[in-house]
Symmetry: C2
Subunit: 227 residues, 2 copies
Amino acid sequence: LIELDNLTRFYRLGGETVKALDGVSLAIDAGEFVAVMGPSGSGKSTFMNLVGCLDRPTSGAYSLDRQEMSRRNADELAYVRCHQIGFVFQQFNLLDRLDALGNVEMPLIYAGVERRLRRDRAAAALTRVGLGDRLHHRPTELSGGQQQRVAIARALVNAPKVLLADEPTGALDSRTSLELMALLQSLNREGTTIIIVTHEADIATYAARLIRFLDGKVMSDANQRMV
Amino acid sequence: LIELDNLTRFYRLGGETVKALDGVSLAIDAGEFVAVMGPSGSGKSTFMNLVGCLDRPTSGAYSLDRQEMSRRNADELAYVRCHQIGFVFQQFNLLDRLDALGNVEMPLIYAGVERRLRRDRAAAALTRVGLGDRLHHRPTELSGGQQQRVAIARALVNAPKVLLADEPTGALDSRTSLELMALLQSLNREGTTIIIVTHEADIATYAARLIRFLDGKVMSDANQRMV
Ligand SMILES: Nc1ncnc2c1ncn2[C@@H]1O[C@H](COP(=O)(O)OP(=O)(O)OP(=O)(O)O)[C@@H](O)[C@H]1O
Ligand SMILES: Nc1ncnc2c1ncn2[C@@H]1O[C@H](COP(=O)(O)OP(=O)(O)OP(=O)(O)O)[C@@H](O)[C@H]1O
Ligand SMILES: [Mg+2]
Ligand SMILES: [Mg+2]
């Protein structure tokens, strides 16, 4: 489903080049559950942004569902993102002017879903992550963990083929984290491909495969027994 | 040093009242190392904002160093914050238009520190958290864990009496987390009072006392053996 071939992402800053991703090649099949770990700054979010079609590589190739993504234009990338990929950002990226319900409706608006069905689906997604009583709170009126759960609901509301979650339990207490991981497990059993960046080893054990990054490269990539 | 007497913080939203903090009374002595845990939405950040003089309670009393804080005006609160308290926010709250160095300099500007000394101290604080080679990157040019470390450096640069850290290891890999906790331990041994909100039990073990929140109230408050 996902194939990366010697993918790089460089930034030029002042006189120097920062090699955020320095030659990554790997393949992920449909239905896999993959955890990504690695030190701060090792390229995990950069990798996720490239796989999620939110960024373009400096060089190398990226195919999603056998379609070459690295040369697509902005509109084509936006279409793929909206219909196939759900993304939970490390920093949530919620819109402050919209309440929780409005934020979760955004992907449905892009997908052209009609208004009343949109609100029902957004409300259901929020209820599934325990925020049924916070639908009309705006991000600044929510706790950190509640904002993260709004970001999760938004990523899932379009029933995406691929869910990319960058530190989705970063702001969650242990009980809410376990509830989220159970939800991800059931989505994975139903066929959703999941890639989750985490720095917590107990969260990584929910995945069947662990990829470790170091300095913009893949350091190790191994199957593991799922918990 | 810190005394809360039946402190509350209510929000009115639409027709209902959200009781973010619903009557909290406790005392923290100078030099303590306290961990705060509790479910998402239980009031931890609200508590930290009140202790950090960033917010006013709805009712109840709060004294810092025997001075009654709940009736102070905005300027007096700002003065106290800048000279006595260092705050690491759950969502970092960095200024996007300034680079790492500029962000860490901000508390020193408020404290009236002269320009060249300011830059040296800001650079030293960033080097201490491993970002010596990222001084001129802006927040959008840094990884999540790097942004968090800029927020930590900024909180420490004024050598505050009280450090309030809301989920400071949320975006950090395990090695960087342990480095940060070792730094906090050494600051505590030198006399800094530390209150850290965390959802990770291994991080909480660095503290000598654990306070648990539930539904805006203190559920338990006990000393524990420091690791
Ligand atoms: N401005 C606001 N208006 C209305 N309700 C608010 C506002 N700010 C916070 N709340 C509510 O107050 C409660 C406590 O929030 P708080 O941020 O203190 O929780 P927390 O314990 O830090 O949670 P987390 O672990 O998720 O960060 C939450 O239920 C939240 O929805
Ligand atoms: N716009 C940018 N300009 C320059 N350098 C950048 C930019 N974005 C990221 N970087 C650098 O690229 C490297 C990788 O960043 P990335 O966000 O992928 O790390 P990460 O593994 O997600 O880290 P963390 O665990 O801290 O979130 C970092 O060293 C960072 O400083
Ligand atoms: Mg990251
Ligand atoms: Mg919080």
